[in-house]
Symmetry: C2
Subunit: 499 residues, 2 copies
């Protein structure tokens, strides 16, 4: 079994990661902060398992080029297909539909947990990651969407992100759909054409308005000479799409006014703009103005199930891209209205809206701006094994320390290790303090208390008297009966707190 | 999409469950209590993902009748097999092996999370359940095992299980192996025979010593006339196995003395007994005597990877079996030493020991004995929508309440609903208080504060004066500017606390 030539390779599959003490503790604090905000907004926790029937999840992932992929799937013993959830929204829709009669509607719930994507992993792109969601099901009013946006803003501030360092952007799927409808691209038969238009719009950042204009019209030749076929819109159509693309005004009200013009002639487009106006009116009146919740037509959410308002939480904090250029941190979450997702099961309309925080990504952002204490708890007090025949005595000391609420452990390494080797282990663990009892101390009924934090500073002390004084403080013999008090003195000296 | 004839069925696959607010809150409190105990013992958190390479997990599940089953598996895009973890120990072994050079050894860590079993689900038997583990890797000393047992005991008491209501039982795999070796059943070739003996021993509860004796010898015919072939041991062998089965003494020391006789002639058996003696000496000296940590040869742990001491946390609390007969609650966790699990990767011996708490099962036990507050948080204060043109005003009130740290929500149901219908929703949510502002109140600059808890008691009041007094208290108009204070008065009256 322990044959070197035949041994197994210990490795994680790509796109998966282990997490250490500092990261776990930081996540725990984040989760707790988010939970308190969500509960204050009236949301209750509810959780679903990691596995669902594949058909219940539906296929709403953005990666359309790989049908049947994107999710991890396997067959049950009755040959039905099961999948790992790829988000927390689709399982919630299943939960609501299954328990519809017993729920108080509107049903407001939150949950956090791991989700899984069977995608090509990349830098910062994992196949298992954590989301923290909140949803209101059974409410068609825009007040539900406004609440989600305000809660997203409050969550950012509760996590220490200052006003002005984030913004919750709101758009509406119906607006662009309305534009496309108005220029004759509505209906099932134009789905491919709409996709071409969407892809053109998506290249605005890279190609500018001129490039997008070519892609909406006859097509565009790039520097290498490669030709991309265009959508073939007429000049009226092109102008309308470009007007949409350029509809962002100096503030939310101006944007809404621009959008109103852009959707002329489309009822659903006008609907979308009116919904944006209502959300904006509600959030503004509750003091969540443009600096916190802002109408922004550039927001696109990848998931296909959104039917109305969509939101994006963007951090304006600056960071560097892979080439060292300053960029904004960008999206740490978002969501939208998904009125069709529960209806799939119910055969009746069930409006719903919700959002999702990307916990790992947000954690990276908070760490970057120094708003998350990313340190692990200090190590335990180490009781060393000086005489291995007396392990039971040392174990008793450890039990006494723990009984007093002090984090402590017995040295469990090779009992032949010298006290010096054991103290090296204490250093590695970040232990603040060690306890030693050799034969001499035993006879005198004493223990040695070593202050390891103070001890580490000794070499830097030049003055001989000062050195001797500190040295005496860093290691002293005390009666065994006062062990707990003596250890506590060291902990108090350095403000050690494991909570 | 919302066609009744074509709609999807909303259902969870068998053996999986959704979790509601009360259960989630109770788990959170439990997890927090366990975490504090484990950290006090010097363990640090570390987490691994839910997915691992199948070969890294190994095949250590008890269900030997279904090779390749027991776990959920699927192929990666490079055709390598991946599996969902079936416990937290095998992934930890992989983690340790992968990061061996960077870890401070002995490496003491804890983790909790969901694990998955591809098994036939049954009552109380789920395909996804939560475990909370702690492990010490890189320590061969029995002090490591003793610490695990004491920590298990402390954890039970921290969770509110009184001393005497639980016991941590310790056995050692080497003892029975030694017995089998001593009667000539050692070595690879006798594996099948050993299994027959183990199965016979396992039937002690059901068949008694006489039945087991037959199964160890020539075989046994049951009442229906069916014959089970026996192990065919000679009378010396049978006596030795029965002596092992009956080796439990009046206390730990007596059991150890009995076991010493039983393993005569087997070096590894003697090793096993000596290890039990050391664990017992250490725990007893630290004040974890037989009433908390007890040597008990009946402990068997299902998982195959254990190599030495094995532990079982048993609750002695009485409950009823499916036929209503009183039984002890039984195991809520356990573990053991698994010296071979990390070695599979390392090609060198890496001793390790650890244990696992079955969180869901323990939660059921704690609920049963009333030691777990299994109530969800109270519902939010509901601000009703009296006049749907004035949603923005109501939204502002909600924002004011939340700003003061009060759990509150706007009524988001159909805005045509009457205030009566809205108050029914508040009842369903368990809201302590509702806020109403109609046209009259608006003009007077007032709001109505309804104390819903007090209101629910009114019908029981017989005395007219008392009724009128309470009724006035249960609903009163206050200036809108004092909204927050008035709501807080209601919350204080009933001790409502959402923390």
């Amino acid at each position: 079994m322990a044959d070197k030539t035949n041994k197994l390779k210990a490795r994680l599959p790509r796109g998966l990661a282990d997490r250490g003490p500092a990261e776990i503790a930081a996540t725990r604090r984040m989760i707790e902060t988010i939970r308190v905000v969500f509960e204050r907004y009236g949301f209750d926790p509810v959780e679903t398992p990691a596995i669902e029937y594949t058909d219940a999840l539906g296929k709403f992932l953005p990666d359309q080029d790989r049908p049947n992929e994107g999710v991890f799937s396997f067959q049950d013993d009755d040959e039905q297909w099961l999948s790992l959830r790829y988000d927390l929204t689709a399982p919630l829709a299943r939960h609501v539909a299954e328990n519809f009669q017993n729920l108080a509607l509107p049903y407001r719930s939150y949950r956090f947990g791991w989700v899984f994507r069977n995608e090509k992993p990349g830098p910062g792109r994992f196949r298992q990651f954590m989301q923290f969601d909140a949803d209101t099901v059974g409410s068609g009013t825009m007040a539900a969407d406004a609440e989600i946006c305000m809660m997203a803003a409050d969550t950012m501030e509760a996590l220490g992100i200052a006003r002005g360092q984030y913004v919750v952007k709101v758009n509406n799927r119906k607006v662009l759909d309305g534009v496309l409808e108005a220029i004759g691209l509505g209906g099932e038969t134009n789905a491919g054409m709409r996709l071409t238009v969407l892809r053109a719009i998506d290249k605005l950042d890279r190609l500018g308005a001129e490039g997008v204009k070519l892609l909406l019209g006859p097509g565009r030749k790039d520097e290498s000479g490669d030709f991309t076929k265009g959508a073939g819109l007429d000049s009226g159509g092109i102008d309308r799409v470009l007007a949409f693309v350029g509809s962002k005004g100096a503030n939310g009200d101006a944007t809404i006014a621009n959008l109103k013009n852009v959707v002329t002639g489309s009822a659903s487009g006008a609907d979308g703009v009116e919904e944006l106006r209502q959300i904006s009116a509600l959030t503004t009146s509750a003091n969540y103005g443009d600096d916190r919740v802002l109408v922004d037509p550039s927001v696109v959410r990848g998931l296909e199930y959104y039917t109305g308002p969509v939101y994006e939480i963007e951090l304006l904090v600056e960071t560097k891209d892979e080439k060292g250029r300053p960029v904004r941190f960008g999206s740490v979450g978002g969501g939208g209205r998904y009125d069709g997702l529960v209806s799939r099961f119910r055969g009746e309309p069930v409006p719903a809206t919700g959002f999702s925080i990307g916990v790992s990504r947000l954690q990276a952002a908070l760490t970057l701006i120094g708003k998350l204490d990313n340190k692990a708890a200090p190590g335990p007090v180490l009781v060393t094994v000086f005489d291995r025949e007396r392990v039971a005595d040392y174990q008793k000391m450890v039990a006494a320390l723990r009984g007093a609420g002090i984090r402590a452990e017995l040295y469990l390494g090779n009992p032949k290790h010298s006290v010096g080797q054991q103290l090296k282990y204490a250093d590695k663990r970040g232990s603040p303090c060690a306890v030693i009892q050799g034969g001499d101390e035993k006879q005198k009924g004493e223990v040695q208390i070593k202050d390891l934090i103070l001890g580490a500073t000794l070499t830097a002390i030049k003055d001989r008297d000062e050195y001797l004084k500190k040295q005496a403080e860093a290691q002293k013999a005390v009666p065994e009966a006062t062990l707990v008090d003596a250890v506590r003195e060291v902990l108090t000296r350095h403000g050690v707190n494991w909570a």
